[in-house]
Symmetry: C2
Subunit: 532 residues, 2 copies
């Protein structure tokens, strides 16, 4: 069983939730920022007292040992971990709880479960770590549903140290994956914020974005081959470093979010652990300058491992740094060579664009080499990992705390950013009386554009925060679509993004995808409502 | 009209064919290598004397001005430019000549032609520069066919210098594309061997591989968005630097080889022209060492622009350099910074793996900085561009001269290479009496494997060289599939690679692709026989 120490209603491990001192510090900081907001704590309900209906589904005898109808297990799998999921859990909303949680022990179990689902017409939701923030794992439809939790398929099966690749089962969580690679001196080096609570299969099915700010950032680019079980059959692509043989077979399943098949294994490209690392924090007095400087680095062919531009609000809230124009965290790493030449040129470019180097750090976290902000990048990193736990503490106190992310071209960014920020602020004004903050950081940068990641912190009303957030989300999503962004850069589409996804998807591709879905899942049982 | 100066039967411009001195030098070199081979020259036939049947197809009045039924025009579009195409042309084989060559002047013309083809059930072959070496543009089926030559859609429509991208029509040939970008200080920097005679749309439809040995080598990675006309409708993906919204819409059309739709435009990612370039030639005394050294560079995160390992036969024939273990051409380039630190580290790695630096060169082709081979990389580059013309001269003299290309993991490479080489040599022995050479170079290298490119030079018999080559090709293709390679890394599938492509393609993906084809091309008129 997974989930012993996992929160059924909120993020992560119950033991890792904010302690009393952290909570007090957070609450007093928010109280200072949002004077007058009611910060009463609302504890989560007892899941066994919510009246979750009994399961309507029974597996056939041959598969019965795989299923769990435990109420807390089912509730814990009913939703992902978005703000709106946490709020609904806190309010005891028990709509759409799966009837069974099924945990296959082998790929054959996956085949058998899909066969039974297809024959019986029972919808089935492939489930990795359950960290979806887009409604990707929620049976948001009437009638029975089973959740297929791949947690037991958690092994690294084979390692090829020469090509630096490994065959890995899809259900493995991030830490267990890295633990199994470590003895080989190798790493996948894919560290999304959800790293502890998301799986390889989840990353693949949602085109997750990871550690690196440039080059291979999406999990797509780390994928050598995929093994997929669909109701129409099982298939595996060849292990190839590159190919031009027809449209990429893997790219049809990457991002298919469980609607076309269940990814059971993948050969993933690995790396040696970095030996050399250098990091710098660079401050700006103008945000326009900071954006231009970041673009210069993104287009220089230097390929930093980190290149995160925090706007002033983000720098203040999450890195504790006061800047007028923003803070850029830039880093280089290598397992092969010192990266000084790379960082030196990046800093030269940043200075040419009005940046001031606040601090640089070496490989082993040694003392900063410049005065000023002592360790903004470290402060930001710690905050990053703790953010979802803080989000939960604030959700209990009637706050709206959520993020949304996108990507657009550099050319479009100024107007895009102004429109999205204005839409967020207008919506916060309308539904929250204006008590709120919108922040922005770039999580990834490409030669042709950034991936901006926005944070919203606003004062809600207990009992209304779900509806309030949904209004803000609709407003910003409309702005994203109207100004040339994508509705998601790496959080996936799920059920929450469907209207905007459908709007941005080219019609011929939609027709092709619907046809592919019918061929692979003729009974339409795979994650209904997602993608097609 | 295109094609005024284009050879109807062979490669490129008729004016660029080998001159008398070049021909004599080539022939005498071959005569020395293959003593006893009959090198009689067989001139191409007069295309108007071949008895090509009259066109069986007439466009409707509204489109009539777009079509040409000229015999030489039709013959020039009947095939690509593979060895087997050239041989068939030289022998006056006129099977499967398209009935009309249709040249749309606008995207609406493309829509109208596809509508008419769908309504009348007339197969239509999208055609770029016609440089296919895999039977991709040949109406290899009974009944009428029209070829849709996009040559008139040859404009750069829009340039975004901030994001470094341009909206470009699909029918533009490489040189015209670069000519239009040059005033903006930008370049696509995609230079396949076919550069002069292939188009953006062709590169996209076949997942072409270009200039760079590492990072963005396939045209896929240079693509920001695509505009596609299919019989089921027209669609355009958003311009995005990255996205995680469902399976990539572009990746379904990249590599679709005209079977799912006609690419009419694309937004492509561009670069500044390089200012700093450094190149080195490194010799080895052991091929195993050379492979290990190349792998070390490919896995070091240095990302050379060139990293071509020529085996001893390739180095001798095409770079004029004698080595026991092979010759590595490695280069770095940048528009932003000197690349000395990059090259220095690469050379250090190569020396550590037994390499000897023969020469290095700077940006402007200045004198070599080391003794030894004065300019192997330049010699190889010139030979590279002239190779297809030499191939034609040799095809006229009963030689088998052809290439095939693939990719595999580093782990698999030694056994793979041995098996493929043995299969080629066995087949040459069987069908050519053993008079022949097999060469290998790496065109691209990835962290997890190389893309080997093989050359075959063998003595054939006039009238039998097609059948002889087909036997060699089948033998090497079987070996490629049996030992974990891909049937094509960047030449595409076409009709020639179909059996091996079908064998390597995962069954669920094949089912999905067939369904997508039916949805987009319900009458099945788009390039029948290709991909699905």
């Amino acid at each position: 069983m997974t989930g012993d120490a996992r929160s059924w209603w909120g993020w992560g491990h119950t033991s890792a939730a904010l302690d009393a001192a952290e909570t007090e510090a957070l609450v007093s900081r928010v109280a200072a920022l949002l004077p007058g907001h009611d910060l009463t704590d609302h504890e989560p309900p007892d899941p066994r007292s919510l009246g979750v209906p009994a399961s309507r589904v029974a597996l056939p005898q041959s598969l019965a040992g795989l299923g769990s109808d435990d109420v807390v297990d089912r509730l814990g799998h009913a939703r992902g971990k978005a703000f709106r999921d946490v709020v609904r859990n806190l309010q005891g909303d028990i709509a759409h709880v799966p009837d069974l949680v099924v945990r296959p022990r082998s790929e054959q179990d996956v085949v058998d479960v899909l066969d039974w689902c297809t024959a019986s017409g029972t919808p089935v939701i492939p489930y990795g770590g359950g960290s979806s923030v887009v409604g990707g794992v929620e049976p948001r439809f009437d009638g029975p549903a089973v959740t297929l939790d791949l947690a037991l398929l958690d092994r690294v099966l084979e390692v090829d140290p020469v090509s630096r690749a490994a065959r890995i089962q899809a259900g493995v969580l991030g830490p267990a994956l890295e633990d199994q690679l470590r003895p080989h001196g190798l790493t996948l080096r894919h560290f999304p914020q959800s790293f502890e609570f998301s799986t390889l299969g989840g990353w693949l099915a949602t085109r997750a974005g990871g550690h690196f700010a440039t080059l291979a950032t999406h999990i797509d680019d780390l994928t050598e081959s995929l093994r997929v079980v669909s109701p129409a059959g099982t298939g595996e692509s060849r292990r190839l470093p590159g190919s031009g043989a027809g449209p990429s077979p893997d790219r049809m399943f990457l991002g298919s979010e469980g609607a076309l098949g269940v990814i059971t294994e993948a050969w993933m490209r690995l790396q040696q652990r970095p030996v050399w690392q250098r990091t710098a924090s660079v401050g700006f007095t103008s945000y326009d300058d900071a954006v231009a400087a970041t673009r210069a680095v993104a287009q220089a062919g230097l390929y930093p491992s980190n290149c995160r531009l925090l706007d002033p609000a983000e720098a203040l809230i999450n890195a504790g740094t006061t800047t007028v124009g923003g803070l850029l965290l830039v880093a280089f790493e290598s397992a092969d060579h010192p990266v000084d030449a790379w960082l030196d040129r990046a800093l030269e470019l940043l200075r040419d664009h009005g940046g001031t180097v606040l601090a640089t750090r070496g490989r082993d976290g040694s003392a900063p080499t410049a005065p000023g902000d002592p360790d903004a990048s470290q402060a930001w990193r710690s905050a990053f990992i703790r953010m979802p736990y803080q989000r939960d503490a604030l959700a209990r106190r009637s706050m709206l705390v959520e993020t949304f992310e996108t990507a657009c071209t550099w050319d479009a960014f100024p107007a895009f950013h102004a429109a999205v920020t204005a839409a967020a602020q207008e919506a916060i004004g309308r539904v929250c009386g204006g008590l709120g903050v919108v922040t922005c950081r770039f999580t990834h940068v490409y030669p042709d554009g950034p991936a901006p990641y926005y944070g919203i912190y606003a004062a809600g009303r207990w009992g209304s925060t779900l509806a309030q957030w949904d209004e803000v989300k609709a407003a910003v999503s409309d702005a994203i679509n109207a100004h040339g962004g994508t509705i998601t850069h790496h959080h996936a589409v799920g059920r929450d993004h469907r209207p905007w996804y459908d709007d941005q998807r080219p019609a011929p591709f939609a027709a092709a995808l619907r046809a592919a879905k019918s061929a692979l899942d003729p009974a339409g049982v795979l994650n209904p409502g997602v993608i097609v």
